[in-house]
């Protein structure tokens, strides 16, 4: 079963850490009493859960960028779409506990004087339907966009710019109130998920565990692709696309499959992120967000899946720390990170350790 982890020491370490965390953190949060030195606060649990969702997103980006060479600036959009699907479910769970107390309509619809829930909200009161949409909506968008783009062989920076334009268009669209997704404010004020209160410690811990499991499964799935012959062909596409075509592979099909799969992973990451942070708004579609997550992968080391996880944790931890301690410094630091990593650390941190291994 775990053949794909053979020789992947980073991946082995990651899965080990995840298993430990899944056991240890719930105990330290729920069993160890507050005030005890070893107690892990719910705030920290949620923060870690958020990072895990980001890490899954980073793995998805790494698969298309690091391995297949497509710099997608649209994964923030897939993430956000997954998040919105989850947000819609959570929104309909509020029921009459909203400010306006309307049992059928979310607050913002009451505010807009809407009579009923629009058609595209139908079905989102069911958790499983929403979960299908979490995967389906980003997947479908990626599929349609990819089918067009890869067939006509839009590559390189053109593709990046097109994905960015797509993200930007979606952002503009979601900012509109008429779209029916809460406009500027997005979806928020969630109360509970599957009947469990989102404020309670145990729900938070459960979400953390779900994120860890999702990351582990996502990692294994990507790893399975990477070590298969398909994975080799994917890397070959990155290096010499023409050659792959001339030995008989449908490059557009392969790209489309990987791109769509990666978008689905991003959507799932978004769905895990939303209940933990309690809000989803159009800001998630901003081009900055999409491009920022590329730097997670870059710093961790592209074309090493565990590097993506590492990068997501490091950059996001720094962000949490810096935006708290010295907010002005954060953008300087992020900007400098972009420049320095591309100039001096093309293989990221994972590349450093590899170099050392090679030297030894």
């Amino acid at each position: 079963m775990f053949y794909m982890l053979k020789g992947d020491r980073g991946g082995q370490a990651l899965l080990l850490l995840l298993s430990i965390a899944v056991v240890l953190i719930p105990v330290l949060n729920l069993v160890v009493p507050e005030g005890h030195a070893l107690h892990v606060s719910t705030f920290t649990v949620t923060l870690l859960g958020k990072y895990l969702a980001f890490a899954l997103l980073a793995v998805a980006v790494d698969l298309v960028w690091g391995y297949m060479g497509i710099l997608s600036l649209g994964h923030g959009a897939f993430f956000a779409l997954g998040g919105y699907a989850m947000g819609m479910y959570l929104m309909l769970q509020i029921g009459d506990r909203g400010v306006y107390g309307n049992p059928d309509l979310p607050d913002f619809m009451v505010f807009l004087n809407w009579e009923e829930v629009p058609w595209f909200w139908q079905g989102f009161d069911s958790f499983w339907f929403a979960m299908i949409m979490v995967a389906l909506v980003p997947g479908l968008l990626a599929f349609v966009f990819g089918a067009l783009a890869f067939r006509s062989r839009v590559t390189g920076v053109y593709l990046s710019i097109m994905t960015q334009a797509l993200t930007y268009a979606l952002m503009l669209a979601f900012f509109r109130n008429e779209m029916g997704f809460g406009g500027n404010n997005g979806l928020t004020d969630f109360k509970d998920i599957l009947g469990f209160s989102l404020q309670s410690d145990s729900t938070r811990v459960a979400l953390f565990i779900a994120s860890a499991v999702a990351l582990a499964l996502g990692y294994l799935a990507c790893r399975a692709i990477v070590v298969s012959r398909l994975g080799k062909v994917v890397v070959a596409i990155r290096d010499t696309e023409d050659r792959v075509r001339f030995i008989g592979y449908r490059v557009d099909h392969i790209k489309l499959a990987i791109f769509t799969f990666s978008a689905v992973l991003a959507g799932i990451a978004g769905a895990l992120y939303v209940p933990q942070v309690g809000i989803i708004n159009p800001g998630e579609f901003s081009p900055l967000r999409s491009i920022e997550l590329v730097v997670w992968v870059a710093i961790g080391g592209r074309a090493t899946l565990y590097g993506a996880v590492l990068g997501a944790f490091i950059v996001n931890y720094s962000k949490t720390y810096l935006t708290g301690a010295a907010p002005e410094v954060w953008l300087f630091a992020l900007g400098a990170l972009f420049v320095l990593v591309t100039l001096y650390l093309p293989n990221g941190l994972a590349g450093l350790s590899k170099k050392k291994e090679a030297a030894v």
């Binding site: 710099l71 966009f145 067009l148 783009a149 067939r151 006509s152 062989r153 839009v154 390189g156 920076v157 053109y158 990046s160 710019i161 097109m162 960015q164 334009a165 797509l166 930007y168 268009a169 503009l172 669209a173 900012f175 509109r176 081009p287 900055l288 491009i291 590329v294 730097v295 870059a298 002005e328 953008l331 300087f332 992020l334 900007g335 400098a336 990170l337 972009f338 420049v339 990593v341 591309t342 100039l343 093309p346």
Partner: protein, 539 residues
């Protein structure tokens, strides 16, 4: 048209003579300040009849102080002091009036109500005053003043006004004013009792775009008279056709101006991306630097706003160009041949530039002032007026494009740039210092971005985020037009701008923008090399 004169006997004949004032001026004494002073004094008499005569004398005195006196009188603000019998204009304050002498135009401080006596007017006098004021304006030597005087009479034209206008029409020399007067008189004719007059007026007005005409014709359409009703229906149809046409012209103009903004923002990118193949995500921030340069220069020379803009153009070019060269030397040079890495690194630079500006100037938007000669609008006809700032932006955009085009096509730098972009190794073998050319080209593209910033500072907010608003649009324009083709950028920018503005009325601004983006995304799938692909073998 001249039929009124005989029909209306409401006005004293002397007032009609007024319209001939410029011609008569030299012939009729007494004029001048003495006459004015005498006339002002005569205003204080009790009898309305006498006062009428005084007003007449006042007007014929042709003194420049007459108009404020007449206006004050009309608005019941003309007084004389009980004690000294000095005629004054009073403006109501909290307790009493602040008064100004009519003759010497000096402030005489405050006076209580009891110290003043109002110079009263009745309806007839009011009419005379209004006509007098209009007639005065009509006798002004400047045609613009006469034109605006005529325009002010729209909608409040009474018989007196008609008589004045009709008389003035005879002596008017300016064709615009004549036309305006004629329209006005025709509009009046529409309410005439005489069928033929009405029909003639309808026929004459079917080319007029004045809003008042439409209202009147709209009423006439319901007339019981078949012929009038039909004629005004036809005239209305014609007018509405014209209006629809001008509305389209106006939209196209808005589109052109949006397009020129897009072209300005994108044209620097057309150099760095199109010619050099460098993805510069900091391009928007170079535009922003240009805008902030404008702001700083205005702060340095606040009394010369118009001048500061002219100074800002070369300065912004140098500032953004220098920053561009710095970026090229320090970062991009190391990343040639790795476009995706260049994209990421320059994005990092854009964040740093944004935050730098935010730290230095505050995160809030700065306001850059618009010089006098850029505000206001050019009126082509009542249905179409073009604002000067948009007009200037279009012209400026074309100018920048032309200069850049010449630089690339005609100068030795341009030749080197094209050589290096086509075949680097060969160019180097011919003795071109490729790396220096790279730096200069990048500097040129960046400098143009700075100039775009100066232009944008006149129409949008100047803030740290302004660059981000333009970067995606700029890339879209370049990619849509065809990378490596300056003409493509120009035509691409204009057509996107126009398409956007034509969609706005039914789609709304945001949706129009989304539709344009989606269109480009689909278009690129169909023609990956843009509207005007660079020629050459497909590789």
């Amino acid at each position: 048209m001249l039929s009124f004169i005989t029909k209306n006997r409401f006005l004293p004949v002397w007032l009609l003579g007024l319209c001939l004032l410029p011609a008569l001026a030299s012939a009729t004494p007494p004029v001048g300040s003495d006459a004015f002073a005498q006339a002002v004094e005569r205003l204080q008499v009790k009898s309305y009849k006498e006062r009428e005569a005084a007003v007449a004398a006042l007007i014929s005195s042709q003194d420049e102080r007459v108009k404020p006196v007449l206006e004050a009188m009309l608005n019941a603000r003309l007084f004389y002091t009980k004690k000294d019998k000095i005629t004054v204009i009073g403006i109501k304050t909290k307790d009493g009036f602040s008064i100004t002498g009519v003759l010497d135009q000096k402030s005489l401080g405050n006076a209580s109500k009891s110290q003043l006596k109002k110079i009263k007017v009745n309806n007839k006098l009011r009419r005379i005053l209004r006509a007098g004021i209009a007639a005065l304006a009509l006798s002004d030597p400047a045609p613009e003043v006469r034109l605006s005087a005529v325009k002010q009479m729209y909608g409040k034209l009474d018989n007196a006004g008609i008589q004045i206008l009709t008389a003035h029409y005879e002596t008017e020399t300016d064709s615009k004013v004549r036309e305006e007067i004629q329209t006005l008189l025709h509009i009046h004719d529409l309410s005439s009792d005489d069928r033929n007059t009405v029909l003639k007026a309808v026929a004459a007005l079917s080319k007029s775009l004045h809003p008042e005409v439409r209202n009147k014709l709209e009423l006439l359409k319901d007339s019981t008279d078949q012929e009038i009703s039909a004629a005004s229906g036809d005239a209305l149809k014609h007018i509405e056709g014209q209006l629809a046409f001008y509305a389209k012209v106006k939209t196209a103009f808005f589109g052109l101006s949006l397009g020129s903004v897009l072209v300005l923002a994108a044209i620097g990118l057309a150099i760095t991306f199109g010619v050099m193949g460098v993805i510069n995500m900091a391009h928007g921030e170079l535009i922003m630097l240009g805008a902030y340069t404008t702001y700083v220069i205005q702060q340095l020379m606040p009394q010369y706003i118009g001048m500061s803009l002219l100074v800002a153009i070369p300065t912004a070019f140098l500032v953004s160009g220098a920053v561009g060269i710095l970026i090229e030397r320090l970062v991009i040079r190391h990343l040639y041949g790795r476009p995706l890495e260049t994209l990421l690194a320059t994005f990092g630079i854009s964040l740093i530039l944004q935050q730098t500006v935010r730290t230095i100037f505050s995160p809030l938007n700065r306001s850059v002032e618009t010089p006098q000669w850029m505000s206001g609008f050019l009126e082509i006809n009542p249905a179409l007026s073009l604002t000067y700032n948009r007009l200037y932006i279009i012209l400026f955009c074309l100018l920048v494009f032309a200069v850049l085009f010449l630089v690339i096509k005609k100068t030795s730098l341009g030749l080197s740039v094209r050589a290096v972009s086509q075949n680097r190794a060969m160019a180097r073998a011919m003795g071109i210092r490729a790396s220096r050319v790279d730096a200069l080209t990048f500097g040129l593209g960046s400098g143009i971005a700075g100039i775009a910033g100066v232009a944008l500072s006149q129409i949008t907010n100047v803030g740290p985020n302004m660059g981000q608003d333009y970067i995606i649009d700029s890339f879209m324009v370049v990619v849509f037009g065809g990378v490596g083709n300056l003409w493509g950028t120009l035509i691409g920018g204009f057509s996107l701008g126009i398409a956007n503005k034509f969609m706005e009325p039914w789609a709304g601004a945001v949706l129009a923008k989304i539709l344009v983006l989606v269109f480009i995304i689909l278009f690129i799938q169909k023609r990956p090399r843009g509207l005007f692909p660079q020629k050459g073998r497909v590789n």
